[in-house]
């Protein structure tokens, strides 16, 4: 198959179309808008639903309605817009129906800026909306991976009747790379056993709701969501590993930070430093098990993120204080250069690491000293 040059946002849009996207509802926001623009042309030519909503609130609730009808449906947005969508996301989670949401992340909080960021990690991974629920969250590091994960996201959402979010740094949405598109799949509308698509003389009426006024019934629902989550944790963890076989030190980073770190790891290897890279692809479920295994054979970890260490907390949960963890982060839409990460790898590999220090505080002091 030939490789074509595609921009990340448009590639995600076309990948969703080929995965059988039947309806798209969105709202313009940089750096995500090309998804909306692309689908405004592409969906109508295929006779599918495209609608520009009045707001992100409108968009996510249109997604909610179409998801209740049982069709493959998606929205995309960027950080401030995703904040607005969190209400609908919580309802979708509570109603246990599948939906896909892409967040092309930008710097924040507040209006922030439109530069690439990973500051919505906690917002995505640890809920965001109210109530007890567990979203599946995928984090691509290239345009090709964004395409592949977009296709996967619909299958995961439907398999687990769950939200599947894709969080990508704005840079991946905006950059062009050579990719291969998947084959076009025909729309196959499934007659799900839960969908509110009209009785049509075939069945009893159905209700889809997230309300459980009886606390015991809500508790049963919370437990059902948790049980489903345990299956997801068991079966759906995905990650990429590089040079881990003989690694004494391991860098952990997702998305663009992981990709930049790979360049740094290669450079460090060329200097004889035995360092490897673990790049979580599912940041939720988080690859706790693989980190647990790594901890038993490495001397230290370096977490690299484009935020103040949000994934760092999850890494430390896996590590449980058994090996030193160090942190390097750039913030506010600043993307680290490979040289910066290489310096960090050199520092970590050559210093006496301590189990006692708080990696975020140590990093903060180094940042402020600059």
């Amino acid at each position: 198959m030939t490789r074509e040059l595609w921009k990340g946002n448009e590639a995600i849009a076309e990948a969703a179309v080929r995965a059988g996207l039947e309806a798209y509802f969105g709202y313009p926001i940089t750096p995500q808008t090309e998804v909306l623009e692309y689908l405004s042309r592409r969906m109508p030519e295929l006779g599918r639903t495209f609608l520009q909503a009045e707001s992100e609130l409108g968009a996510i609730n249109m997604v909610y309605g179409a998801a209740c009808a049982g069709v493959r449906v998606m929205s995309t947005s960027s950080s401030p817009g995703v904040s607005l969508m969190m209400e609908g996301l919580s309802y979708i989670a509570g109603t246990e129906i599948p939906a896909v949401l892409v967040n092309v992340m930008r710097g924040g909080p507040g209006l922030g800026n439109i530069a690439p960021s990973q500051a919505d990690y906690s917002h995505a991974v640890h809920g965001g909306g109210h109530g007890d629920y567990f979203p599946i969250v995928l984090a691509p590091a290239s345009v090709q991976e964004a395409i592949d994960l977009t296709v996967l996201s619909f299958d995961l959402a439907e398999k687990y009747r769950s939200i599947c979010m894709i969080i990508l740094d704005g840079s991946i949405g905006q950059m062009m790379e050579p990719i291969q598109m998947p084959e076009m799949k025909p729309i196959q509308r499934k007659d799900w056993e839960w969908a509110t698509n009209g009785k049509m003389g075939k069945r009893e009426r159905r209700i889809l709701t997230s309300i459980y006024l009886d606390p015991y019934a809500e508790e049963v629902t919370n437990l059902r969501l948790l049980e489903r989550w345990k299956h997801i944790q068991q079966d759906e963890v995905r990650y990429k590993e590089y040079f881990l076989d003989d690694a004494e030190f391991v860098v952990i980073g997702f998305g663009t930070a992981g990709r930049v770190a790979l360049s740094a790891v290669r450079a460090a290897r060329a200097q004889g430093i035995k360092v490897g890279l673990l790049r979580p692809v599912t940041v939720s479920p988080f690859p706790h098990k693989v980190i647990d295994e790594l901890v038993q054979r490495v001397q230290g970890l370096l977490v690299v993120e484009m935020n103040t260490g949000q994934m760092l907390e999850d890494v430390r949960l896996s590590v449980k204080g058994r090996v030193p963890v160090e942190f390097y982060g750039r913030l506010g839409g600043v993307v680290p250069f490979p040289d910066e990460v290489l310096s960090e790898i050199q520092r970590v590999a050559s210093s006496r690491l301590s189990l006692e220090v708080n990696p975020r505080e140590e990093w903060f002091e180094r940042m402020m000293a600059h």
Binding site: L57, G65, A66, Y91
Partner: protein, 258 residues
């Protein structure tokens, strides 16, 4: 269950209703509004292909009472959810049932844009001048001077603003095919309300755009009134502020004969 000889039977549960007692307070007109919708859907023969969207508010459990598929929306978002459903299943009948807090306050953005887009959905809008479910707070439709639990000295328009006349406002939008206000305070008006609900659903089925029936309703418990006094309040206080009438009757909707 009491059985009645068929020749004496003048009134029975419409097929559009499930066999479930409602949770509404005594004297509240939600039950009347529900019944009208159920009768209309039955008479049109569309129960099988109808999907309702319940609001947040007193009608949050509306899905328990209708013999149709139902979903339950976040507060104010019913028109957006209905849009999502209708757009992927245009041959289905989709309606929302919303109160004044839900539709005219938190959901104002969703309702205005659904109307502006001319979404082929039907909205049943219950205007009872307060937030019923949460215990009678001031709503966008609370009359000037009217006492509620959050306007204890009466709504002061200087600080709390003026009531919103939803039907008049939405009627300015080109996407609206049929927008009318009716009242449920006496049998004559109830019959007129039913006719309007029928025309609204016919508007949807014929693809003539957005349709909304605003129903002036009672809330005797939160108004601290006996049910009969509450009906009088609607007639004497609410109708003058919210005049009954057809605010948008598109050329297509005007052709509908019931």
């Amino acid at each position: 269950m009491v059985t009645t000889a068929p020749n004496n039977l003048v009134y029975e549960r419409p097929e559009g209703f499930t066999d479930t007692p409602t949770h509404y307070c005594p004297g509240c007109t939600h039950g009347v509004a529900h019944r009208l919708v159920a009768e209309v859907l039955e008479e049109m023969g569309v129960l099988d292909k109808t999907i309702g969207v319940a609001p947040v508010g007193c009608a949050v459990f509306a899905y328990n009472y209708f013999e149709t598929d139902f979903v339950e929306a976040p507060h104010g978002r019913a028109p957006a959810m209905a849009t999502g459903i209708k757009r992927v299943m245009p041959e289905r009948v989709v309606f929302t049932y919303q109160g004044d807090g839900d539709l005219a306050s938190i959901g104002m953005g969703e309702i205005v844009h659904a109307a502006a887009r001319g979404e082929n959905i039907t909205v049943i809008f219950i205007n009872n001048a307060n937030y019923g479910m949460t215990g009678g707070q001031m709503a966008p439709t609370t009359l000037p001077g009217m006492k509620t639990t959050s306007s204890p000295n009466g709504r002061d328009v200087e600080t709390q603003g003026y009531p919103i006349r939803v039907s008049e406002m939405l009627s300015t939008l080109d996407g609206a095919g049929y927008v009318v206000r009716r009242s449920l305070h006496d049998p004559k008006n109830i019959r007129l309300a039913k006719k309007a609900i029928r025309i609204a659903f016919e508007t949807q089925i014929r693809g003539l755009g957005f349709s909304l029936v605003e129903l002036l309703s009672t809330c005797p418990v939160n108004w601290n009134m006996k049910p009969v006094d509450a009906l009088k309040f609607v007639e004497e206080k609410m109708v003058p502020y919210f005049p009954l009438g057809d605010y948008k009757l598109s050329a297509g909707a005007a052709q509908i004969k019931i």
